[in-house]
């Protein structure tokens, strides 16, 4: 029912008692059907409360019996349905009436609407088998109606309510009868597969699918009927039939079905696969999309069937010879048709012996070839996706579909090209590229679209190649790419890093050539700033990591360059065990600590901290200090645990701050004497608040438990703030209001984390909640006292680490901040600054990530990038490529502005999204909820600022 949000709560309450009465009066006033219809339409716009629903329904029904006009009755019927959906209203009281009206109705349209209403009632009463039974009987009765709409609705009702295995205990028929009914329902529905109206046929299949969705097992006999519908004249029927056939192929994959016109048999899933493949060349593109998508999920299909979908020359291939041996030989060597590739090879050749059987309908062969060259790009994308799904489950198929995917790199629509590159990357673990394939793949490196090139770099990272020529070819093309598009630098280097570390043995023979060393002569030292040279070095060094003989081939300057690159581009250059300088420092550092031991260490540190019972315990501060230091170091060393370690450290820092603030002796001093102390405490409280927002929004993978802990800390900080306010401010009024606000905070905490409360025993909140009755009645001053006491006595809440916790990070790649040339532009106009950044572990970056520009005069602008500026190259990874527009009044000197990325948050968004609150909010009527707490919105800077030189020049006149 349209429950309009903007309707003010008060007004609702006022109109409540008169709701049904008003309707009654309105309807009585109506002199003709048009008026009545108007009243009903008007009425439908307003919500109806649970209590008055039944009254309204009675009025409506009463009017229904009197009404002669079809359209009014239709509207009433639809209103009945809507009203039955009202939450909290149980429509069992109107079942009888609804059925009654159904029996007396003559108009087909109204009948259809009434059946719809019954469906709503039925779905609202899932627990009542008798009602169900009656509704199903009604539906069966009206199935023979002449109007298609009525039959449609009946079928829908059967599909949605058709009895599964719930035994009818009340009826004397016993459970056996329900089984009988179950069979009946499927055969009743399948009777309508042959209906004369295509809409009814579609509805019948949909009803059957609905039964399947409700976990009722569809009988295998349906398969034949569904297959027949695949050649229906109407596309919606065919489309639904494809789904039906797919469902059955998943239910009975191993059943055996006969091949028509022969005495051979094949597995059902193979048969279904063949039939669905056939639909890829259907006349309607909707069906083609459906079929192509469906193919991808049929993983149980046998190999030789799968492979036929890639071979178009079906006519001879698809005939199965009597012996499997012959068949295997035949499969990919078709002699009958020419390929059209060579001139004059299309003279007809000898006919093959046609004493064979059509294994699957010949049209089905080459389904993917057809799908991939379809006119509609939707079909092509669906086909590419299906290919990828199938290829992931079958290595040999992956090998075979490689050529086709590579062909798709040449598609006319960029989306399709991109998709096929992604798909190839996903399956590239299965495959090794041949040289000619690699050649085709690499040709795309010249593409002018940045997305395509980067996707391709990503692909090359995961590619296996077989020969050293391939490596050379790849390097050559990548360098060409680097030359043509210098902005691809990072991406190309990264690509070479993986290429090197994957194929050390293939790189080894190339090293002298790559580094242009000579056994006798010294060669000139290459330019260290040349990106191409760096690229080569990245390749070589990464290969050298697992190939200890390689460094022997390096010349002196190579070692020097290594040291330089190891420092400047440490993420690209791995630590090497070089002769002469013994073990590298980095090497020893990394070698010792495995992830497990680090994890253990982290856990131990946390356990140690948890021994602190009281915030004032002696030595607690030191312990915290050391632990924080340890954790920070751990985060630096073990990148896998950086998120978790950081999270813990920040949490502990909050605790430490709190502890310090509370431990000050100031609390015992008179207020005027401790002004300075107060300042530090206030600052601490503020900082804790900020940190808690960081904790909550900067880390992904938090569970509700951790969120509760964070909120708990925030509550403590707020309590601290309140105490400080009480001490510093003299006025009573502001204190009262902030006390009230604090109480609200506690309440909302309780509401949000009801499930977590048992874990928070002995904590600050726990104690507060015990004292709640007292708090809400006492005076502010007393309350502050209680708070202070509780705060000081409450223990440290132990932090439980979730499985995976990641800190959102952002790195600005572009601009680099290295340029000495200022961006010059005319004052008052704008200049566009290209920003390229990678974001990791950011959820929903489209809404949360902003760009901040800080001018030297303190002005700051926050820019919201367009949603289309974000790309998603990998899981938990985003790429922001955007332009920000800068403008400023004239400067005399070039100066630096700072650009950084911000993560925006809003506390209201989380309180709604957190599990318990969201449902509560909507099921309660709106007026019973307290007004939502003022949402705290803010931003967290989460990237290093980058400085950019700009120079706005005064306009020349």
């Amino acid at each position: 029912f349209p429950r309009s949000e903007e309707a003010p709560a008060k007004k609702l309450r006022l109109s409540k008692p008169s709701k049904s009465a008003a309707l009654h009066i309105d309807l009585c006033k109506a002199t003709n059907s048009t008026d009545a219809l108007q009243y009903l339409l008007h009425f439908a716009r307003k919500p109806v409360e649970v209590e008055s629903v039944e009254g309204v329904v009675r009025i409506l029904l009463e009017h229904y019996y009197k009404e002669t006009d079809n359209s009014v009755r239709l509207k009433i019927a639809s209103l009945l349905g809507l009203l039955s959906k009202t939450q909290g209203f149980s429509p069992d009281c109107i079942v009888d009436d609804a059925i009654n009206t159904l029996n007396n109705e003559k108009s087909h349209q109204v009948l259809a609407q009434l059946l719809d209403t019954l469906l709503v009632i039925g779905t609202q009463l899932p627990e009542s088998p008798t009602v169900r039974q009656r509704l199903i009987e009604m539906a069966c009765k009206h199935l023979s109606d002449t109007y298609f709409g009525v039959r449609n609705k009946c079928l829908k009702l059967l599909g949605c309510l058709g009895m599964a295995d719930t035994p009818l205990t009340k009826d004397n028929d016993g459970p056996g009868a329900s089984l009988g009914l179950l069979r009946d329902i499927q055969s009743i529905i399948s009777d309508f597969f042959g209906d004369q109206d295509p809409r009814v046929r579609t509805a019948a299949i949909k009803a059957m699918l609905q039964l399947h969705e409700r976990r009722i097992k569809i009988h295998e006999i349906i398969y034949d009927q569904a297959c027949r519908l695949l050649s229906d004249d109407y596309e919606q029927v065919r489309s639904a039939a494809v789904q039906m056939v797919w469902v059955l192929s998943q239910l009975y994959p191993e059943s055996i079905v006969p091949i028509p016109s022969s005495n051979e048999e094949i597995r059902l899933v193979d048969d279904a696969f063949g039939k669905i493949s056939h639909m890829v060349s259907d006349g309607s593109w909707m069906v083609r999309v459906q079929a192509a998508k469906t193919l991808g999920s049929m993983l149980q299909v046998s190999h030789h069937f799968l492979e036929q979908t890639l071979d178009k020359k079906l006519m001879s291939d698809l005939r199965r010879k009597r012996t499997a041996h012959e068949r295997a030989k035949e499969l990919f060597t078709s002699g009958e048709f020419s390929s059209g590739r060579k001139w004059a090879d299309d003279a007809p050749k000898e006919k093959l012996d046609t004493n064979t059987v059509n294994l699957i309908a010949s049209g089905a062969c080459g389904a993917f070839v057809h799908g991939l060259e379809d006119e509609m790009f939707e079909v092509r994308i669906a086909a590419v996706e299906a290919l990828s799904q199938l290829a992931r489950s079958s290595a040999s198929f992956a090998e075979k579909c490689l050529d086709f995917l590579v062909d798709m790199f040449n598609d006319e629509i960029e989306e399709v090209r991109l998709q096929s590159i992604h798909v190839l990357r996903e399956i590239s673990t299965h495959i090794t590229l041949r040289e000619d394939q690699l050649d085709t793949v690499l040709a795309v490196l010249e593409d002018s679209s940045r997305d395509i090139r980067e996707a391709l770099h990503e692909l090359i990272c995961y590619t296996n190649v077989s020969t050293k020529e391939c490596i050379q070819l790849a390097l050559l093309e990548l360098l060409k790419n680097l030359n043509k598009y210098p902005t691809d630098r990072n991406s190309v280097w990264k690509c070479l890093k993986f290429l090197g570390s994957r194929h050390p043995t293939l790189v080894l023979p190339l090293v002298p050539e790559l580094l242009s060393t000579h056994p006798y002569f010294d060669t000139p030292e290459p330019d260290m700033d040349d990106p191409a040279y760096i690229a080569v070095l990245v390749l070589v060094f990464n290969a050298a990591k697992s190939c200890p003989t390689m460094p022997a081939l390096f010349s002196d300057h190579t070692f020097r360059h290594y040291a330089y690159l190891r420092d400047s581009l440490s993420h690209l250059v791995p630590p090497l065990r070089l002769p002469g300088n013994g073990l590298d420092l980095v090497d020893s550092r990394c070698g010792s600590g495995s992830v497990e031991s680090a994890q253990l260490f982290l856990q131990q540190s946390l356990n140690r901290v948890s021994t602190i019972q009281n915030l004032e315990a002696p030595g607690a501060q030191d312990l915290l200090n050391f632990t924080i230091r340890d954790l920070q170091r751990l985060g630096e060393l073990q990148t896998e645990l950086a998120g978790a370690a950081d999270f813990c450290a920040t949490y502990l820092r909050c605790q430490l701050l709190l502890m310090k603030a509370l431990q000050e002796k100031l609390w015992n001093m008179a207020v005027p004497l401790c002004l300075k102390q107060n300042v530090t405490a206030t600052a601490a409280a503020q900082q804790i608040l900020e940190e808690t927002y960081k904790l909550e929004f900067l880390y992904s993978g938090l569970e509700s438990r951790q969120v509760a802990t964070i909120h708990h800390v925030r509550l403590q900080a707020k309590a601290l703030q309140l105490i400080l306010t009480a001490r510093t401010r003299q006025g009573l009024d502001p204190l009262i209001s902030s006390c009230e606000k604090f109480l609200q905070d506690i309440e909302s905490f309780q509401r949000l984390f009801v499930a977590e409360l048992p874990h928070l025993q002995d904590s600050f909140v726990d104690k507060l909640l015990e004292l709640m009755p007292r708090l809400s009645s006492c005076k502010p001053v007393e309350m502050v006292k209680i708070l202070l006491a509780t705060l000081r006595l409450s223990g440290l809440l132990q932090l439980r680490l979730p499985e995976q916790i990641h800190r959102a990070t952002a790195t600005i790649i572009e601009p680099t901040g290295e340029s000495d040339n200022p961006l010059r532009f005319t004052t008052g106009l704008v200049v566009a600054l290209d920003i390229d950044a990678t974001l990791e572990h950011v959820q929903d970056p489209q809404n949360t990530v902003k760009v901040q520009v800080l001018y030297p005069d303190g002005q700051s602008h926050v820019i919201h990038p367009k949603p289309s500026d974000f790309r998603k190259p990998g899981p938990d990874r985003h790429r922001l490529i955007t332009q920000v527009y800068l403008s400023h009044t004239a400067w005399t000197e070039p100066s630096q502005i700072e650009v950084r990325l911000l993560l925006a948050y809003s506390s209201s968004s989380t309180s709604l999204s957190s599990s318990s609150a969201s449902k509560l909010g909507w099921s309660d009527s709106i007026d019973s909820l307290p007004p939502p707490e003022a949402a705290v919105e803010g931003t967290i800077p989460f990237s290093k600022p980058v400085k950019v030189y700009i120079m706005p020049k005064p306009a020349r006149r």
């Binding site: 004369q196 060349s281 010949s362 060259e373 002018s448």
Partner: protein, 615 residues
């Protein structure tokens, strides 16, 4: 039995001068009116004398339909309409109508101005001919006259190519023209609905070919061009001005754009300018990509492709040139070929079919020394590549179309006889339908079994529906009762009452009677009375009346008693029931009751007899 006759005047077991006559339901239609590229004499045009020796064609033909603008499908049109004489309607799609006269004019110029032929059609004739053209829209049903209707479907192949459905009553023929089932860079794929025609007349140029994936071909093509350009060579691509040329242009244009290439691409001939204009206009006839992006950029506005000037051929450095004509038999493409043939860095790519006797055909067959006019020879050193870009359906495409349209008979034209034979076998095997392949002048006859539509009054239909069993059983035939009236060329099924009324006839009652003799000493009225009371006791639940005129009515059965003259104790019982009573039994519940009643009466009466006798 009605028949559909199909006679190819051209394109029967042959490629070129497509012209097919179809007689269907008393209408004569000419499909396409093309010329043959291979001949310069009378064989160039179809033999119209087949239709009539002298006199105009107008009275013999109801309409002419042109499938697309290629000259082998429309080249003889002005000759037929203006020189032989035809004034009826000529149907073609809008793009065809726009582009066709350009090609005809070009064709005329070459034959008349260059070759100096006389007795050829003039520019004015082309114009006059085009005035007779009625344009068609896709999927628009056009009523040629009261009975004949035609409808065009998208055919791919070239801009504006259409397949046509011709329908008279319930008989129909679909003519495909040339079509393409795989979309290309600028056109979509042919599409038809399940129209189930009596005959599907399909082209079969590639009857024995199943082509590789289109992308494969495109990639090969681009790779070859790219490599040659990188080597510094020149690439010649001979094309016909319209159709394939545009596809290849788009292909190269997008490739150049994507790869940021700089080498120039040239397009020879002025004809293209005009034609490209039409391509820009008829965007709705192109494929999805072009249709969707033309708002930002019309794909036919080429950035990298420039007009060619004769002097450019001698320019140094790499270049790609599209030149006409496509088979290297004359014109600019031949001139450029001669210039470039000597350098092995250069390349010629033949993107389509070459007729025997042309230079294209020769070099494709590997000939390395060519004899030129004037007894000079030409050494062919450049690379020769063949790349099938012809937009005809391959064997699989033809099969796919058959599957889409589900025809009752197949007829192959526009292909070589041997290849057709092969495909014919395949079709008959796969679909088990008859497949014909008449040669030029041969007639293929197909008998049809048209369904005859009959009007039925709604009331009668509803009444009969109510009598029948429950839905659904649409597949089962159902008997119904009514009167078929044939009146003024229309058939009507009405209820018998209405039929009587309309025909002004009286209804005759047909009654069955039977006599039963029984011995009963009582008087006639007594006997009747006894029977009445007896029946009343036996047949409960039936209406039994004793009428004052000395009869007993049981439902609609009448019983009378009379005694014979000689023996008064021998009574004769007369039972009489109407024809309907017996008949209704078959499908009416009530009537079956009636029959039961009748039987009961007989049993009752028999028993009565025995009772009487016992007495």
């Amino acid at each position: 039995m009605p028949e559909i006759k199909v006679t190819p005047l051209g394109a029967g077991q042959d490629v070129g001068r497509s012209c097919i006559l179809v007689s269907i339901g008393g209408k004569n239609i000419m499909l396409d009116c093309g010329m043959h590229m291979g001949y310069n004499d009378d064989r160039r045009f179809p033999d119209f004398s087949y239709i009539t020796q002298n006199g105009r064609l107008t009275e013999f033909l109801d309409c002419v339909i042109i499938s697309h603008f290629h000259l082998d499908h429309c080249g003889a049109l002005p000759f037929m309409s203006e020189m032989v004489g035809y004034d009826g309607p000529i149907y073609m799609t809008h793009p065809t109508k726009a582009i066709c006269p350009i090609l005809l004019e070009d064709f005329r110029k070459i034959t008349v101005d260059k070759k100096g032929e006389t007795n050829f059609f003039t520019s004015q004739m082309i114009k006059d001919c085009m005035k007779k053209v009625v344009p068609l829209n896709l999927h628009q049903t056009v009523q040629v006259d009261d009975e004949l209707e035609i409808k065009a479907y998208y055919a791919g192949h070239v801009l504006g190519a259409a397949m046509v459905q011709i329908k008279v009553g319930s008989e129909s023929v679909v003519y495909t023209g040339d079509y393409n089932m795989t979309p290309d860079r600028h056109l979509g794929a042919a599409w038809i609905d399940k129209c189930r025609p009596d005959i599907l007349i399909s082209e079969s140029t590639y009857a024995t070919t199943i082509r590789d994936s289109k992308r494969c071909r495109e990639r090969d093509f681009l790779k070859k061009v790219h490599e040659s350009i990188e080597r510094g060579g020149k690439v010649l691509i001979p094309v016909f001005a319209l159709g394939r040329a545009q596809e290849l242009c788009i292909l190269l244009e997008t490739f150049w754009e994507r790869m940021n290439l700089k080498a120039p691409i040239y397009f020879s001939t002025g004809l293209t300018e005009k034609a490209n204009h039409y391509y820009k206009l008829f965007i709705t006839w192109t494929n999805q990509k072009i249709r969707k992006t033309f708002v930002q950029r019309n794909m036919f506005e080429f950035k990298h492709i420039k007009a060619f000037d004769r002097s450019y051929a001698d320019n140094p450095g790499p270049m790609v040139v599209f030149a006409t004509p496509g088979m290297l038999h004359a014109g600019q493409s031949l001139q450029i070929f001669k210039k470039w043939a000597g350098n092995e860095k250069n390349m010629v790519i033949m993107p389509g079919y070459c007729v025997q006797g042309t230079i294209g055909h020769k070099i494709l067959n590997g000939q390395r020394k060519l004899e030129m006019e004037g007894r000079s020879t030409l050494d062919v050193k450049l690379q020769v590549e063949y790349m099938s870009f012809s937009a005809h359906a391959d064997a699989k495409g033809i099969m796919q179309l058959i599957r889409m349209a589900e025809p009752r008979n197949m007829l192959l034209v526009h292909g070589e006889a041997v290849k057709m034979e092969f495909l014919k076998g395949k079709i008959e095997q796969e679909f088990s339908i008859d497949c014909h392949m008449p040669a030029n002048g041969e007639t293929a006859t197909v008998t049809t079994n048209p369904s005859v539509p009959v009007d039925i009054s709604l009331n009668l239909l509803k009444r009969e529906m109510a009598l029948g069993g429950p839905l659904p059983d649409p597949k089962k035939p159902r008997t119904m009762h009514g009167t078929l009236i044939m009146k003024e060329n229309s058939l009507k099924l009405v209820s018998s009452e209405q039929a009587l009324k309309e025909l002004g006839l009286n209804e005759h009652q047909l009654r069955f009677t039977c006599r039963v003799q029984l011995q009963d000493p009582h008087s006639d009225p007594d006997t009747l009375n006894r029977i009445y009371t007896h029946l009343k006791s036996v047949l409960k639940g039936y209406t039994i009346q004793h009428l004052p005129d000395g009869t007993v009515m049981v439902e609609s059965i009448v019983i009378k008693v009379s005694s014979s003259a000689e023996d008064t104790s021998t009574k004769v019982l007369l039972l009489s029931w109407s024809y309907q009573v017996k008949h209704f039994y078959f499908y009416n519940v009530i009537s079956s009751n009636t029959r039961a009643v009748k039987r009961l009466i007989l049993i009752a009466i028999n028993r009565q007899i025995s009772i009487v006798n016992h007495d």
